[in-house]
Subunit: 320 residues, 4 copies
């Protein structure tokens, strides 16, 4: 029987991480477990920065962006020495299992560390990028999409009023998920994503042709991994002689009050993650798959996610 | 081959109905169909209030609440005469199929009318109540939940600052779906829903006991179908002598800018609905089931939805 | 030279109170003062619930609704005994002056207490009601108006789509300030306020006449002090036979993230309040009057505010 | 007696322009005037793109960003020939006066054109830059500040969670107004504005010193006219070796649902502008000055606005 678990947040922060911490802590305490909070991700595990969390310590955070446990990059965790120091913290503090709240990179680290040192690790997917395999939607992703969409709605006002072209860069280094969702929800005229080759000449051709028909305002969404809004806007201006403005949404997509969906997800996945440890599972991720809670192997979760982008892309184009 | 379809919105308006109309119209036009928009739901079908919609007629509405086609109650559509007049409009205008955007009551009407008069009817689920069977989430439901949640977040500020008890009534005549989601996402202390008996004495006992431990602020969510915030607040005050305030969120949950999810849903379901008519299907509803697009029988969709409320309810209680 | 001051929040909470506390604490510390935070308003002064606040203790609260010092009603403060106990706390803790953040009722109490016991008291106006004389806008009022306006915008979607009449009750027991601002900003068809007699028959006449012209949706804002949305909606239905729905916005107007204006106001008034105490002033309120910081007598501030409502009311009617 | 006026929006769009158009149109019609709407600013005046606006033509726009009259740059209006063609449109359409809704540049053009050709021109200040002299706040400015503030609040979540430095660029080519308001309301650590020299070495010194005290997250706001977020972030990284991220808010600040204040301002200034024309005034701007409606000379309004930035800047620094 396990008695004490630890929870940490790693990688970039995502809205709903605090709701996830709250769920893990309270569900664990309800099941007679002690919960340690580790600060600054793997760094805190290596440097033994942790403290016992009680029921009250997670009060009032459910609707706050960011993470009260903070998060940080930690290259040292990739070294043998770093990992051994982390293991030492775990043993010294009699920690029976880890719940790691984070994204793809963090899942990889958890998989390597957990299997190598035989530490039960359960991953909770929280990342605005939604780039974890076997998982419909990561915690925070729905919030980030709504934040980006609100920005697009604002830009649409100017695009329409000033009859201009905008290229809006959204997050997504390897995945066009946010870009596609935002383009579809925002009624955008085109979307450029890493999963799909694009031809700027075709886009410019469409723009010029639309212009002749009287369709003068245009918003093109680009995932950061597929190109730079600045470069693309510059090229469109060159090719079409039409004024084109770049907007890079950047870090505003990362923070903010989590949406209802990001929070309920955090609650149900927090329950599932603690249940995994209670049942003695390890090297797993909890997930919402096909609309239902599922437990998948970390090894599978860290393989490259394949998004079926064509049908959504075509729908964006048909509806515009 | 069908050539002309009609689209209408019925029942209470829901955020995302406009995005749904836009999707239906543009996807249909892309497929060489003509689309008639019928005004004020069944009433417009009976009274022949309709007009041809083109690509431009649905511009700039994707992010607007309400419905440009308007909606209305229509008891006349339950009569033989009303139905015959509706049928007459359909024949006169050479309409080959109807796409009906609405909720449970509207689906029932579509099922009866479509089968009786052999008119191809496809239902698109849009309702903040999320009370349609075989459908994970209706269009508008995610938006309504986020609106109610923002209200709850605001109320929490006062509940905490003034150390008070609030009873917040949310929509849901027959379903506790919104109430449960909001309670879980809002970190609420209790939730009262139609699907589950509640005992006010137990709730008051919890409140008084919490009070002794220093837990003084309390938000109880109630679905309108399970009780009145005014009555419950009054009884809690009587039973506990603690100041308890009712808040009825009411119609603010119905309108507003649709969320990203409500809009992407509207787009994909709009495509699916038109595809159904193109394939010659009838008496069906398009749906997102287990996270995927599905086509289900209207007859099944109108049977009573059974929500598994116990696990969510227990999670609300454990996490508070 | 004063060395130590105390700050408290009293009456109903208002968005921006936390930003005000932060400004007072940090501006005072910058001026070498010690600052005590008193909990639950006058109650904490009577019961000696207070603690020293440092720079860090007000971190991360600038954008949070409510008040970290909490607030409560305190009838005991109106008694001789209560006041003497409060005075005792002040003397025992060597407090040289009080900054009281609150509304009209709290200003009255501060005026009585400060003059009677010779305690330097400076009032900072924070109240969603905007009912303090000599003060353009209280802290929190701009936020409350924006919250109510967002609700009205949502209701407009349904009013237009379903062609209905809504009566929306907003805060304002003695003042129609919020109601007028919201009605003007929301494009509402009428507004009922305490400062102005209204004639429901005239309103109903307008509605029926508008109905004949095709103007079917209607939003009437009512300040809570001028009538009940339920009663008014019921009477309109009776008089016009048109479906009329009441919405009571209630406590959602009180909380939430403070607007930019509520926060900058809190900052500049916090500076002004501490400056008053540094200069040896007492029995004053800091204020924004005619767009500029001003210091006014508490005695004047608590006299009945006279709002010039007619020009705004007429503008609402002309523009609708 | 004047009989017909025209209204146009020029320069960059600002939230509240639509509310301003609505107010002008309806107040004018109420006073028995005809109102022509001119499309795309001065361009439409030159090219005779205009149409009669009735009461209904401005329905449903009060809460929409952008401008239904559209706006455009028009270098031709600076030429003699352009101006003569504009005059021709005015004469041909029997327009007795112009209401021009726009910013500083547009006011200059209105002043030159109106005095040279003896056309009564009244300016309504609408611009997110708030750079018009003699005017407390332009229409749209309050909304833009709130939009930028929401972005800053989001970024704060990440700054705190990841303990990072952010440089956030906001609008303001010649004015630090938005930057100062946002920095004060957002609790930002520093702000760089055109009106005030800044020394990056001092800022870096503060950052490093703060870092040693444990203050690790930092948000520096920069007005676009005072520097580039990219350049400043790069230099801070070089000077301090601390990871610093730039964010350029850009066009998201321009659009969106106007705030209550931007809308009520639009209403009262719209009334004032029409009143000016009714009274035979010309070459004036309507303004809110010291919290009250005022009418000022366009000649004065276009002189450089001098903002007293030092007191606000110091307050930002003291409160951080």
């Amino acid at each position: 029987m396990i008695k004490k678990i630890a929870v940490l947040t790693t990688g970039g922060d995502a809205p709903g991480m605090n709701a996830a911490i709250r769920a893990v802590v309270r569900y664990a305490i309800h099941n007679k477990l002690e919960v340690m909070g580790i600060f600054r991700g793997w760094w805190g595990l290596i440097n033994e920065e942790l403290k016992l969390l009680d029921h009250r310590s997670v009060s009032g955070i459910i609707n706050q962006g960011g993470t009260i446990l903070k998060t940080a990059r930690c290259p040292e965790f990739e070294t043998e020495e770093g990992q051994k120091r982390a293991l030492n913290t775990i043993k010294k503090n009699a920690i029976d299992g880890l719940i790691m709240i984070g994204g793809n990179g963090s899942f990889k680290a958890a998989h390597i560390f957990g299997t190598k040192y035989n530490v039960p690790c359960i991953g909770m997917p929280a990342s605005i990028d939604n780039d974890i395999n076997g998982i419909d939607v990561t915690i925070g992703s729905d919030t980030a999409i709504n934040t980006a969409l609100a920005a697009i709605d604002n830009i649409r006002d100017t695009a329409t009023s000033m009859e201009r072209i905008f290229v809006v860069e959204v997050m997504g280094r390897e995945s066009g998920y946010i870009a596609l969702q935002v383009a579809l929800a925002g009624g955008c005229e085109d979307v450029i994503i890493p999963e799909r080759r694009f031809n700027l000449e075709n886009i410019c051709h469409d723009i010029v042709e639309g212009n002749l028909r009287g369709k003068i305002s245009w918003i093109i969404v680009v995932a950061e991994g597929a190109g730079s809004a600045f470069d693309i806007a510059k090229k469109i201006t060159e090719m079409t002689s039409l004024e084109t403005r770049p907007v890079v949404l950047g870090h505003i997509q990362r923070g903010g009050r989590p949406s209802a969906f990001s929070r309920t997800q955090a609650a149900t996945l927090g329950e599932a993650a603690v249940e995994c440890l209670l049942k003695g599972e390890s090297d797993k991720a909890v997930s919402i798959k096909d609309g239902k809670i599922a437990v998948i192997d970390l090894e599978f979760a860290i393989t490259k996610k394949k998004l079926n982008v064509d049908s959504l892309y075509n729908l964006v184009k048909v509806l515009t």
